[in-house]
Amino acid sequence: MGAMEKAASYRFDLTRYAWVRRLLTSRWPQFILRAVTLAGFMLVILTGFIGSPVGSRNFAVMFVWIAWWSALKLIMLPFGGRVWCSICPIPMPGEWLQQGWLVKPGGKKFNLGLRWPRRLRNTWLQSAGFAAIGLFSALALTTPVVTAWIFVGLIIVAVVVSVVFEQRSFCRYLCPMGGFIGLYATMAPLELRPQPDLTSVEKGAAVREWPRGCPWINNPAALKANANCGLCLECLRTESGESMALNARSFDAELGQPGAFRLDEAFLSLGLLGSVMIYSAVFQGPWGALKNAALYAGSPAWWGFAAFFLLTSFGLLPALLAGVSALVRRTGNLGQPLQMVFTRFSRALLPLGLLSWIAFTVSFAFGKMAYLWPVLSDPFGWGWNLFGTAAVEWQPYLLNATPVIEAVLLVAGLIWSGRTVLKTAGQLGVRGERRWAAAPVLLFALAGTLILLWLLIG
């Protein structure tokens, strides 16, 4: 085992320190953070409905799409995985009704407790939700009231789902952001897992404690992947909580190991890669016709844009990867079914997807960040000057550095994905000396990288 592989398998238990465990097992710090984010999102809804209709002068648009969305992709997701989900306020009202409590157990519960339909226990609905937001992205990013309606809609759906279905079914199966975050959390250097030396007795105790799974409907004692663990930390707060640990790990710790990947996850992975290409073209490209087509929802041009968006992200890219997977299967003499080869290679392309989103955010956020300062002082766009920043003039930040950062991120994503593609090919049965058989998938990744390079810095 080389140094890199040793590092990949390395875990550091953060909860070995008593103060860390105390901090995480107390519900108060998490509740306070959630209360703060809830207040922020309430202000988003309020400013969205009654504030200035000019996006760049309204807190709703600037906070959600420039501050929160950028912080999520640049910091929270790559370094903390689902850490946002642990402080997300969207399920709070529904959770309160469902559990009868927000901080400590107790109180009257309003919940039918139905299990989520078996056929929908996947990410198809999350893909559909993410695509729907993508289709209206130009409108949402520039129109405060649309941003407000998106959040009101998410809260209403979360409440209804929480009252009808068990636990956090909304977060696990419906939240469009949850699908995006969960998929890329695979590469986060943070994980909640059972202690490695857990005895079968201790595993049994955890199962008895969570007969129908934790709030995220997992058996904590059997957690192996980040995708469906929302870091709600409830498993740490039970009697068998000592058997769970919050580990720091390498970025490649999970992705470098063989792991199952379903067809719905493969489509979400490719859909997200296609989406970031289209977002880059719409928001960073010089093409006015494309911008107008994306903006004027319902117009004939918008229908063309919608068809292009959906066919590229969920049709063309999966079809191309299926084609190259078939080629690898044939040239590598693989016995596995095509679907398995296709889904495993989709998983191997996750680093390229994540780093493409980060590169797109870098291209986007630093140019727009200066719009934040005026809206902090004047969130409604009514002429206030609460913190003395209302008159700060717009100017783009880090102009000379951003193209280099974007290029490094995309090339790093390609190399990371390339390594994972070869590792996956080996796991599928391609012998080391025949690793050239994986070249079609590498060319697919290269083509994606070159398109993004052209869109962002070309």
Binding site: R344, K423, L450
Partner: protein, 156 residues
């Protein structure tokens, strides 16, 4: 794992990152070109410039006539920090020497509608070296991945 081993495991990625940044940003002497005068009439309408990409050589004297065709529009050229704005039907002129090489975005400076923050164009002064280097780096990176020792395999 000891700190020494962690450092040795991180050494390769850090070295690779440093080399990549150097390869992308190190200055490169370009063959000199004869400076000429360049004139562009750029029509601005919601939410695009036409033409959207302007190509000149380093040292050229560039004149841009910005014509706003619908509402008030502006132009701000990144790094050059030059700006102008034009009322509907009017023309605003920018004249400058293209003394910085590379690819620069220009943006609308005056709020002109919903997609105003995304109204962008590109000024390319000389070859777009960062893009070309990034393409080369991608190819080299992929070849390095392919050529290095086969990765250990495990069962599915």
């Amino acid at each position: 794992m000891t700190p020494t081993k962690i450092i040795s495991a991180l050494a390769k990625p850090i070295l690779g990152l440093t080399l990549a940044i150097l390869a992308l940003s190190a200055p490169l002497p370009l063959p000199p070109t004869q400076p000429v005068e360049r004139y562009f009439r750029v029509e601005a309408s919601q939410f695009a410039y036409s033409p959207g990409v302007l190509q000149v050589n380093p040292g050229d004297q560039v004149t841009i006539d910005l014509v706003a065709t619908d509402v008030v529009h502006g132009i701000y050229i990144d790094s050059y920090e030059l700006q102008a704005s034009a009322d509907p039907g009017q023309t605003a002129r920018l004249t400058f020497i293209a003394d910085q090489a590379g690819l620069f975005r220009f943006r609308c400076l005056v709020p002109c509608g919903q997609l105003h923050p995304f109204m962008l164009g590109k000024l390319q002064v000389g070859p777009n070296l960062i893009f070309l280097r990034a393409v080369l780096l991608s190819l080299l990176g992929l070849l390095w991945v392919l050529w290095k020792k086969p990765l250990p395999t495990a069962s599915i």
